[in-house]
Amino acid sequence: MAGDWQELGQAAAIGLIFAFLVAKLISTVIAFKEDNLRITRSPPASPTAASRPRDPAAPSLASTDSDSDWEGVESTELDEEFSAASAFVAASAASGTSVPEEAQLRLYGLYKIATEGPCTAPQPSALKLKARAKWNAWHKLGAMPTEEAMQEYITIVHELFPNWDTGSSAKRKGEDSAASASGSKGPMGPVFSSLMYEEDEGNESELGDIHVSAREGATDDIVKLLAAGVEVNVRDTEGRTPLHWAVDRGHLSAVEVLAKANADMNAKDNEGQTALHYAVICEREDIAELLVKHHADPNIKDEDGNTAQELCPSNWSFMNPTY
């Protein structure tokens, strides 16, 4: 019989194991990703990606939802605490912690009220002892309000397990965000997929420190390296100068620093392309204009015979020879 009651405790709360497990799953997945996907995901692809806030709440959402719409409807702190408490009960029942029978039934009834409302299910046969006892526990609570049921449930859990929520608030916070993330995936439906591997084309090129600094837009480091005697037009294995890298990644201030240090505006990489070719191909108009101002030549042909002037969008008037 004792075994039955323990089962009952598990049964009463097993539904809530959902949130708990998904939270755990998601945090594991996130941890997994952070451990493993770094291989392909580092460093952050762009400055915006690195600084992107995690909270996805779109501004438009706030504008479409006035707070009054959600009165009595949205998930409250009570909901959250109730979810946490019931998940805890489910977990402890699963791990074999014993709870008095009476409390188990009480928790079961409160859980049903909190999640489904008053009991409308038909009374099970008297022969089904367990089912009948559970049904009675639910039914006798009548039309108890949901909030009251949640509150009492939490109170009972506090009495049974005074330390149940000693897990730090940081941990709870983590579960909250995990829960919202889990909701985004959903139990069925389509999947949002994005590219697994980064663009590198089996690239074997080797960069010097100053190329890396230029790529990252680290202007202070560029200045330091130049001051330490690094040649401003030094090539990487693909023939690219620091200027090529700064232009490629769109770092205007790094381009300015290199221009000021008398970088060769018309240096060609191994494919015959100048930094201005890069600016045009990557559609970096402000940088292209800056390069032209520093006398970059728009009429140099690359190995395919294309000049930057020919490749550029027609509305870039500064690229025209008359400019």
């Binding site: 409807v73 409302g117 439906g189 999947v191 663009e199 590198d200 090129s205």
Partner: protein, 433 residues
């Protein structure tokens, strides 16, 4: 996670006939947990909920005596529950009339703010209102299967699930099925556990139409996928994809070279390549029926279906074909649908415009060339990326046309229909939206 007695919990937990279904979501969570701990040992996995359901079971996967086909016979219609399942007190059911523009706007808004996101919450699907109408109102659709939940007080739409009817052939058997999709619960209500009751309710309403099978997809593994597909992505606008974080640039790779890598011609290359028109419906239907017959599981399209699903609609579905300049015979066909996503929290971009490969048939033009032209028109129309699953013969062109593998896997399921041993993605001829 042992998680015993979930059946016990279910049997006491709700209206008797569907009590077990109560735990579908919980079972799902447990399933996923088990999957993590027992990943390499399928026979050790347990699915308390799904083991009670008419779905293919892992334990049966080596039993060759089980026949393909319905797992359970239909129930008499009189035994299908007559009333909607109960909702929590603050909510009520709403059968959605998608001809009502205001309601369609509400549904659009619910999905645009609360539907599927990537794991890192950088993107969220943004199905357009016109797309939703197209997806949910195919020939002979059932309005009762457009199921909303709204808050009683504010009348605000807070959750949704849908089914649409389809004839799907599995081997030699054409079966009336429901395609289940667009299950969405408002973010503020995720702890209210509305999803299980939505699934039960749509199942009930499908049964009421004397339909006993369903097709659906999921990003998670349940018993038992008929197949598991992978998404592949072809960059059309690599700079934007990198800027928004859809794609990443290796530390030794230049943006300049990446842009050049994905550059496409300005116009399609195949002579006679043009947009499909109404007059092409019969020819396209013939091509498609002949082609889809090759696959183990595929829709059974007639001309009415083709007109709905494949006749181009701007920013919903695009279809192109090759009409022989000499004979004027339609020899090849390709199509894609438009599913943009919101870009969350990016200073420069708010939308990612994606084309999804739909149905493609090649008889004269090589498939790779046909799909290259599809890429070219998608690029012309300003799509940022072209996505394709590795279904049908897609694998034959993915790598060659510079598609890269995606991080998303999509599992296909049939409810109450067994396909022994499952099938390969290349044997699947069905694309769910």
């Amino acid at each position: 996670m042992a998680a015993p007695n979930s059946n016990d919990a279910a049997s006491a937990s709700g209206p008797a006939p569907a009590g077990e279904e109560d735990t579908s979501i919980e079972a799902l969570a447990r399933r996923v947990q088990e999957h993590m701990t027992l990943a390499s040992n399928p026979t050790a996995r347990r699915h308390k909920f799904w083991e009670t359901q008419p779905v293919g079971q892992f334990r049966d996967s080596t039993d060759t005596s089980l026949p393909d086909g319905a797992i359970e016979p239909p129930t008499p219609l009189s035994e299908v529950r007559a009333d909607p399942y109960p909702l929590p007190a603050a909510f009520e059911w709403l059968t959605c009339d998608l001809d009502d523009d205001a309601l369609l706007a509400d549904l659009y808004s619910l999905l645009a703010h609360n539907y599927v996101e990537d794991d890192e919450n950088m993107f969220r699907f943004n199905y357009s209102p016109a797309f939703l109408r197209w997806a949910l109102k195919p020939p002979s659709f059932f309005r009762a299967w457009h199921i909303g939940v709204r808050a009683k007080e504010s009348k605000k739409l807070v959750a949704f699930i849908s089914g649409v009817p389809a004839r799907i052939r599995a081997r030699d058997d054409v079966v009336r099925m429901a395609e289940i999709n667009f299950l969405c619960v408002h973010k503020k209500l995720r702890s209210k556990r509305l999803a299980p009751v939505l699934i039960r309710e749509v199942t009930r309403r499908v049964h009421q139409e004397n339909i006993w099978q369903a097709a659906y997809t999921a990003g998670v593994v349940l018993p038992t996928p008929i197949t598991t597909c992978r998404y592949w992505h072809r960059s059309l606008n690599p700079k934007k994809l990198i800027d928004v974080g859809f794609s990443r640039l290796g530390p030794r790779m230049t943006m300049s070279r990446t842009v050049r890598l994905y550059k496409l011609p300005d116009a399609p290359l195949t002579p006679g390549f043009r947009r499909m028109e109404l007059r092409d419906v019969a020819a396209v239907t013939r091509l498609l029926r002949a082609y889809l017959a090759r696959f183990v599981v595929a829709p059974d399209f007639d001309e009415v279906d083709v007109e709905h699903w494949l006749l181009p609609q701007e920013d919903v579905v695009d279809s192109y074909l090759v009409e022989s300049p000499e004979t004027h015979e339609v020899t090849d066909f390709c199509s894609f649908y438009t599913l943009p996503s919101s870009v969350l929290n990016n200073a420069n971009y708010s939308t990612l415009k994606a084309a999804y490969s739909y149905y493609n048939v090649s008889t004269k033009t090589p498939l790779q060339q046909l799909m290259n032209d599809a890429l070219i028109v998608a690029k012309q129309k300003d799509y940022d990326v072209f996505n394709a699953l590795d279904v049908m013969e897609n694998e034959s062109f993915l790598k060659e046309l510079k598609f890269g593998p995606g991080d998303g896997q999509l599992h296909y399921y049939l409810y109450n229909y067994r396909i022994r041993n499952g099938i390969k993605p290349s044997e699947l001829g069905l694309v769910l939206l």
